[in-house]
Amino acid sequence: MATTHAIETVATHHEPKSFWRRYIFSTDHKIIAIQYIITAGIMGIIGLVMSWLMRIPLAWPGESVPIAAKLFPGLFEGGVLRPDAYLAMMTMHGTLMIFFFLTAIFLGGFGNLLIPLQCGARDMAFPFVNMLSYWVFLLSCLIMLASLFVTGGAAGSGWTAYPPLSAVEQAAAGSGLGQTLWLISMAVFIVSSVMGGLNYITTVLNLRTQGLSMMRLPLTVWALFVAAILGLLAFPALFAGAVLLLLDRHLGTSFYLDHVVVAGQHLAREGGNPLLWQHLFWFLGHPEVYILILPAMGIASEIISNNARKPIFGYRVMIYSIIAIGFLSFIVWGHHMFISGMNIWLSAAFTLTTLIIAVPSAVKTFNWLGTLWRGRLRFTTPMLFAIGFVSTFVTGGLTGIFLGNPTIDIQLHDTYFVVAHFHIVMATSSVFGVFAGIYHWFPKMFGRMMHEGLGKLHFWLTFVGMYAIFFPMHYLGFFGVPRRYYGFNALQYLPVDAQAIQVFISIAAFITGAAQFIFLFNVVYSLLRGKRAEANPWQATTLEWQAPSPPPHGNWGEQLPVVYRWAYDYSVPGASQDFVPQTVPLDQEPTGERYHGYVPAAVNIPSATVDGGTNGGNSPSKADGSTNGGAL
């Protein structure tokens, strides 16, 4: 819509000129998105290396590994990873991956990149708050990383930081300054994510361009929108929990602590209950995992539709399931606490809600299959990651049904089965969402295509590798191998195969982890040498592809785009191409949009009912764009 000329004049007028204002202290949502993605990526790599260190003693207990010991002398003793260092690595791996990698890259990275672009906005509603959100996030990253270098090492109580282990300094090596910094870092992180969340929600509600109703938004925006709402509602609970835990640790209160005897010393606290923390933590913790899976679902939906050249199957039902999942995610937290001593009636109630949440997830899966059915499937790298997402999401989702059942959970709770379950959902599905998104939107971010061959190599090693790591872990769960164990010596009920499986998993983890460096190389290579990207290399319909690659400051030149149709006009019968961008007026191309009172005759709608139609807001004559002039 916008002419190049307009873009240039506007861009030269208002774009900040100095390097610092442009790339470092930028308020441009695209730059902030890239800053988030790079920072989160670095945290992800650190988390990956930590998982490698953990996998060494699990597969080869007691064996000296001089190379690793030389690289990380503080963690090893006699060439062997120390048990307290193992716990620190385990805690930091979980914390970094969940919060500082996945949450940050989805909401901070893709939220920042896609929400304004796909809503047809020039920037976030509050660009300055947006910039502040990133810098506060960076501060929290630095505090978290600093905790690795303090006396006693980083926190060692797991990413869930259950008190009293996390509350009593003498309880573990990492429960000293490391745990304090962990809590402070999390509090700062929460401040950052609330600032971000306010921005994302406001932008979606208020800055959508003309014609872009909520029911025309791409599913990516819907998913990010609901994820941002989940964050806004859930994170404050962890903030409250963290403040109370800090007080218990340093100011002698007893919110979580009762009288305990640690290392022979009596700690005279009274009446506190550790379950209170678990409730506060999981009130955040469970919505949190949906904060990580919903955006991946949105990205997969978008990419599958684009590469199948078909409208997403059951668009409205997809939105309803996103909302249903978002809502239900707030009333399932107790399924993490079935064997914690929580009231058994409460457990039963949480069982019900937990298994109900499987229904919208199943619906989404079948809708992805429905989108593939009779499509024209292009296997670009993002598409491979998107269908890989569907496969792993199904696998990981199904094992959740075991754990959501309190009776089965008695046996499986805190075993490797749980580790396998959430790593297939989080570490595989969510991460596939991240990769799919980066391969797909890289040309929009940087104006260059990523290398397809390297991308496909990366996909195959990662797809096969992730299953090789996490599928066998279920068997360890069957055996009853407890999680968060540094070693398994003398557990007589374990069959000999258990150790062989551990070795297999470790080898697979090293190879799969190494494959991620192919991706990093690809990013650097493509930034420098990649093929120049046109504005719309994937022949996509959504708004961001109607802006140049990369979009200029302000995204749209002088005039905002006007939207005439929904985001999924692929292969509409009678259209001149197999995609129609959202900005093409209805009198130029037919639309497949179903519910807005306008059903093109050329489209044979299988089921007869068509709702709406009363407001008539979508007739072509009204939508020719002439109304927009007066508005400016």
């Binding site: 009593v168 009762d258 005897v261 199957f313 009920y493």
Partner: protein, 276 residues
Amino acid sequence: MVPRGSYHGVLFALAVLLLVGVGVITIGDQWWWLPPLASVHGAIIDQLFTVTLVLTGIVFVLVHLLLAYFVWRYRVRSPEQRAYFYLENRPLEVVYTVIPAVAMTGLVAAGTQAWFWIQGPPPEDALPVRVVGEQFAWRFQYPGLDGRLGQFHPRYVSDTNPFGIDPNDPAAKDDIVATELHVPVNRPVVTYLNSKDVLHSFFVPELRVKQDAVPGMTTRFWFIPTKTGTYDIPCAELCGQGHYIMRGQMVVESDTAFESWLAQQPTLATTLGLSQ
């Protein structure tokens, strides 16, 4: 334009079929399975586990077969090929909303029913045992002839009273303390769990027993062991640096063997020197 690389669809289909094959063979054949069962309620857990495994297995195989078929069948093969424009199918969507909903309801019903029984009140004649977790060991307290357990509180813990039993509680005097858990076979046992310091979890894999020990609370789990033998009691809740070596021993034995073992254990009165 036919994009190159549509053979990746075929590869993907093959990879997914391989996954399904491995999954079905290993799990269907029970190559690797739960530890051999040794308790009454464990049979219900195993049964529910198997039912859930079959149900989810069917979905797993079905979805992956469809996924494999679709990516193989509908990969781009000619420039003329065009996607079939199709928005949705409400009846179909209703069907695949209702079927999981019904299946889930069934699982919820079966799961919670079993849950209430397992977590419900123990039989009257159950043998009470207190299990106390600490970094990094389990301790066990049996009632004496009065059949009642003396009170526990961490404030009583000292070098001479590592069990933390209230020395002034009349019920405690004849209590028997041990560092190994012995129970008679085929007789209900109810464990009362406490912790001196941090969270622990009482886990006996063969007996399908797991319950957290929470400081400041008493939790309960009852079971009926069905097989004599010696079992590990690993700690299942992260409790610090020695979490991985925190281990107890559980011996399930005949009534007579149990009685004679119990008779050899010291009472609290003797360990605290109260009898004098």
